[in-house]
Symmetry: C2
Amino acid sequence: MKNIRPKLIRLFKVGYCTPQIARIAKTINEPSATLHYNIKKLENEGAIKTYKAVFDYEKIDEGFCVYLFIKLTAKAGADPDQIVGELARYEKVDSADIIAGEWDVVLKVRTKNQDEYYDVLKSILTREGIEKSTSVISLKQAKTEFVLL
Amino acid sequence: MKNIRPKLIRLFKVGYCTPQIARIAKTINEPSATLHYNIKKLENEGAIKTYKAVFDYEKIDEGFCVYLFIKLTAKAGADPDQIVGELARYEKVDSADIIAGEWDVVLKVRTKNQDEYYDVLKSILTREGIEKSTSVISLKQAKTEFVLL
DNA sequence: TCAAAAATTGAATTTTATTCAGATAGATAA
DNA sequence: TTATCTATCTGAATAAAATTCAATTTTTGA
């Protein structure tokens, strides 16, 4: 057994998919060549970043989802963009935003369970530049990435 | 001019894409038939919900992104699942979660600008079952849907 | 240890994306 | 208005890719 599954999941999380022109052609009743032209245009403009899969995260061992709010230390020379850029690179971080208001950053973190979340949280909170945080657990997801669940 | 662009965007937000087996085959050096078998298995298990596009939201007129926190009215007979299910169906709602803590629901909303967001907010807040809300604006996005920006 | 089920694979087939050149529509400027 | 340029559209040919299938190997469970 080659256990290709985890490799597929890793690739599909960020890309390795492509438009189904023939299916779109049937759906909106336009010629494939016309759709091809318009799709390439969207890609070349940079309007489309990638094509990827959306998962039932329970089924790929990422059923535990938390919104992690972070307050950065106000310190001369510290660059919030850089810190968030680094946090965004964590494998288990689904999304990373700099936000207005009481907190500076919100991360959406997906892990298998609470234990695994605690590991991620520890590794984030022990970094330089982080003052405090609060974790808001998602109890139920009705929609993600524009896809109804 | 047929203006196919908005139709493409609408379709690509939820699906109409498919795996690039040939590219994956080259990347991880496995036979296409083997990958095909493993991918179909993931799909049949329901582990993969759909294949879709990720956008540069600025470029498709959805550059304004807000996390909208909602507190539901505590009322006998009111079903949070149903309310959230309905909110999730809004076109401009990217994600919808029921959460633990001070607030009951968080929506990620993407609109063209603040004016358009205000329209969405009004239409949500005038619904039954909503007690109060707070809007947290995303100032900068470093990652969405596991895709670095 | 052995039978059944699951997973792998090369080759054939079917389907799909891509290319391209001609046509059409839209925009621009005189 | 009309001429000219550019962008968009499209059918048909080509190239590339997904899918199927039957044979093989591996894994599972009794």
